[in-house]
């Protein structure tokens, strides 16, 4: 056998490969930043994975790896999954961006989907995100009604645009209800560390914050608020990423839920019928990707009505949470009267709006 025939043979086998593979289930991989039992972010992604299995049954096979650190090790985990024969891999945290693109360069036949990211360096990398700031607008409205100390706390994970959108959106809408409201931001520098999140929540409560929003994934801040309430406090929280229903009716008075199932089913379906294309998806409340969980009776009826009205307006597209006039922190104009923020600007948001004190760390 000459070298040429060997190549020809290899090519034939190579062509035959995909044809035979059609009978195999589509293998879908998930890289999670936390444990699937975190009761928040990763839990919701895993619910999306389970929805895939339910939707496609035997035609799909899912694998996942939990608690993958954001850093060099992520690249190893993603590579391993690609080598394991995954057809599409969802990497579900902002910090996996570089690793996802690096691995994607080595596996051009595997599709990669990076959550909450913006880097699409190769044609086989898509990014997807949810417009959490739409949900934050609703929570901010509720917070404006609920606060008596006029201090609202926001436990940030990392100073990235997604967090800053959330801080700005909740502050703007709380201020609409209560002009005296003050925003206290604490950066935890982690997505998931119950001990740290609990300490951050306690520090806020100690300083008179009575409504806490969190951008970290564990239920520890809810537990800290519950403890404070048991000792005579009056603190409210919102479920983050997941419903966190076990803290109902208070301190948890509502929640912002990520629902990834529709997106996952759509994208895996596209891989199956060969129509997958690179894209940057950014769905929100209209698409059902961001959902507000049950608003409990601990909230005044008036506040609940205002929140529900806002949900309706955002969902039907008649209201955008970033509608002018809005000034930047330094007082310069960002959006003129009636002007709506552009997606590109939101995706790279790196400034606070007017009224928020403090600086965004680098």
């Amino acid at each position: 056998m000459t070298f040429k025939t060997f190549l020809a043979l290899a090519a034939t086998l190579g062509l035959a490969g995909p044809a035979m593979a059609q009978d195999d289930p589509t293998k879908v991989g998930f890289i999670y930043v936390g444990p699937i039992g975190d009761g928040g972010w990763t839990y919701q992604h895993d619910q999306g994975r389970l929805a895939l299995e339910e939707e496609f049954g035997d035609r799909v096979e899912t694998v996942y790896q939990e608690s993958v650190p954001e850093g060099a090790d992520a690249e190893r985990a993603i590579t391993q999954m690609a080598l394991g024969g995954a057809d599409i891999i969802f990497t579900t945290s902002f910090g996996f961006g570089d690793a996802t693109n690096a691995v994607a360069a080595k596996f051009p036949d595997v599709k990669f989907e990076h959550a909450t990211g913006y880097k699409r360096e190769h044609p086989n990398v898509s990014t997807y995100d949810a417009r959490f700031y739409e949900g934050r607008a609703v929570l901010g409205t509720l917070a404006g009604y609920l606060t008596e100390t006029n201090k609202i706390g926001y436990i940030g994970s990392f100073p990235i645009p997604e967090n800053i959108q959330g801080i700005n959106s909740s502050y703007l809408h709380a201020r609409k209800i209560n002009p005296d409201v003050e925003m206290v931001v604490t950066w935890a520098y982690t997505w998931f560390d119950p001990a740290k999140e609990a300490d951050a929540a306690r520090a806020m409560i100690d300083q008179g914050v009575d409504v806490i929003l969190q951008h970290t994934d564990s239920t520890a801040p809810q537990a800290a608020a519950e403890e404070a309430n048991a000792n005579g406090g009056r603190v409210f929280t919102f479920g983050q990423a997941s419903d966190m229903a076990e803290f109902k009716p208070e301190p948890r008075v509502a929640s912002i839920i990520d629902n990834w199932a529709p997106y996952y089913i759509d994208r895996v379906g596209a891989v199956m019928d060969g129509t997958w294309k690179q894209q940057a998806s950014w769905g929100g409340m209209p698409e059902g990707e961001v959902v507000i969980g049950e608003i409990t009776d601990a909230v005044p009826a008036e506040a609940k009505a205002a929140a529900e009205e806002m949900i309706a307006n955002i969902s039907d597209g008649s209201y955008h949470p970033f509608t002018g006039p809005i000034n930047k922190q330094d007082g310069s104009e960002w959006l003129a009267e009636g002007e709506v923020a552009e997606d590109g600007e939101l995706a790279g948001m790196d400034f606070y709006v007017e009224g928020i004190t403090g600086e965004i760390p680098n």
């Binding site: 608690s67 119950p194 306690r202 300083q207 537990a223 803290f247």
Partner: protein
């Protein structure tokens, strides 16, 4: 920045809560090291205590049963270490490191079905009028029982080592196991008891995290607290009262860092987090300059003992 927003009362109160896990673990480890054994597995014993305590509290519905189970779980891990190092004479450093890795893995396995569940926490004790006093009421009389237990333990260990005959024997075993052996003391038995006590304390510290401070179970939730406890023992130059100071210092910096951030201070978080370790290094240098060889460490620390040698 608005520093007036930081209430000293609440700062001290939450500092005590934040420091309690490392205080318990460090106190136990100090007794172990006083007996001449270096157990680097504190982190592993803490996390085992955290998980066994949490599981027991969920299954029985009683946080007290949880703390009891945590002490037993921590002690069981410690006795495994004791068996390997004291009976089978394995290397203490390597075995201790292995114990940490083993504990982290085993606790993750045991805790699989318990992630995200809510446990009944331990309430603060209510001393009526006393708890309502300004400052003192919250700082001295407004804690949960384990905080007081940890303080009593500090006092107990201090008195035990200083005033009792048993404490003297324990110290003798740590300073010179050959001399203690020649005098007819059971070196191995003393060390095993010290190791079990250290494990029980570490277990309690871990359970305090999973049952009071957080309170829930998550994999790897001790997040290095065991290593901090080890550093505190050295920082405290093997003295109970200084362990208390060291633990509250570490706890204080943790809490202060978040409070400063919440109040809007512009201090790099990384610098504050690193501060206790920088202090430890400084203290270590000072101690070794002053005391020459080995400093205040027990003379036979981490040296294997066999009756025939």
């Amino acid at each position: 920045m608005d520093l007036s927003a930081i209430s000293p009362t609440l700062l001290v109160a939450s500092l005590m809560v934040a420091a309690t896990p490392i205080l318990l673990a460090a106190l136990g480890e100090m007794v172990v090291e006083k007996a001449g054994v270096l157990n680097l597995g504190v982190e592993g014993m803490m996390i085992m205590g955290a998980v066994t305590g949490f599981v027991a509290a969920i299954e029985t519905g009683s946080p007290w049963a949880g703390f009891l189970a945590a002490a037993i779980g921590g002690a069981a891990m410690a006795l495994l270490f004791g068996l390997l190092t004291q009976v089978l004479l394995s290397n203490q450093v390597a075995t201790g490191l292995a114990l940490t890795l083993f504990g982290l893995g085993l606790s993750a396995l045991i805790g699989q079905g318990y992630v995200g569940i809510k446990a009944t926490s331990l309430g603060r004790i209510d001393l009526g009028a006393l708890s309502d006093l300004p400052f003192v009421g919250r700082v001295v009389f407004g804690h949960d029982p384990i905080v007081y237990l940890s303080l009593l333990l500090v006092l107990g260990v201090w008195a035990f080592l200083r005033f009792t005959r048993a404490g003297l024997i324990l110290r003798a075993v740590g300073e010179s196991h050959d001399a203690a052996h020649a005098l007819g003391y059971h070196v191995r038995r003393v060390r095993m008891l010290a190791i079990a006590f250290g494990g029980a304390c570490a277990g309690l510290g871990g359970a305090y995290l999973s049952l009071v401070r957080v309170p829930q179970w998550t994999e790897g939730m001790t997040a290095g607290a065991g290593w901090i406890a080890l550093a505190i023992v050295v920082f405290a130059s093997w003295r109970a009262e200084r362990v208390l100071v060291g633990a509250y210092l570490f706890g204080g910096i943790t809490v202060l860092q978040l409070n400063l951030q919440t109040a809007g201070a512009r201090v790099p978080v990384e610098l504050l987090s690193a501060a206790p370790y920088l202090v430890t290094i400084l203290v270590l240098v000072l101690i070794s300059v002053r005391a020459g060889r080995g400093g205040a460490a027990p003379a036979d620390l981490a040296r294997p003992f066999h009756a025939s040698t």
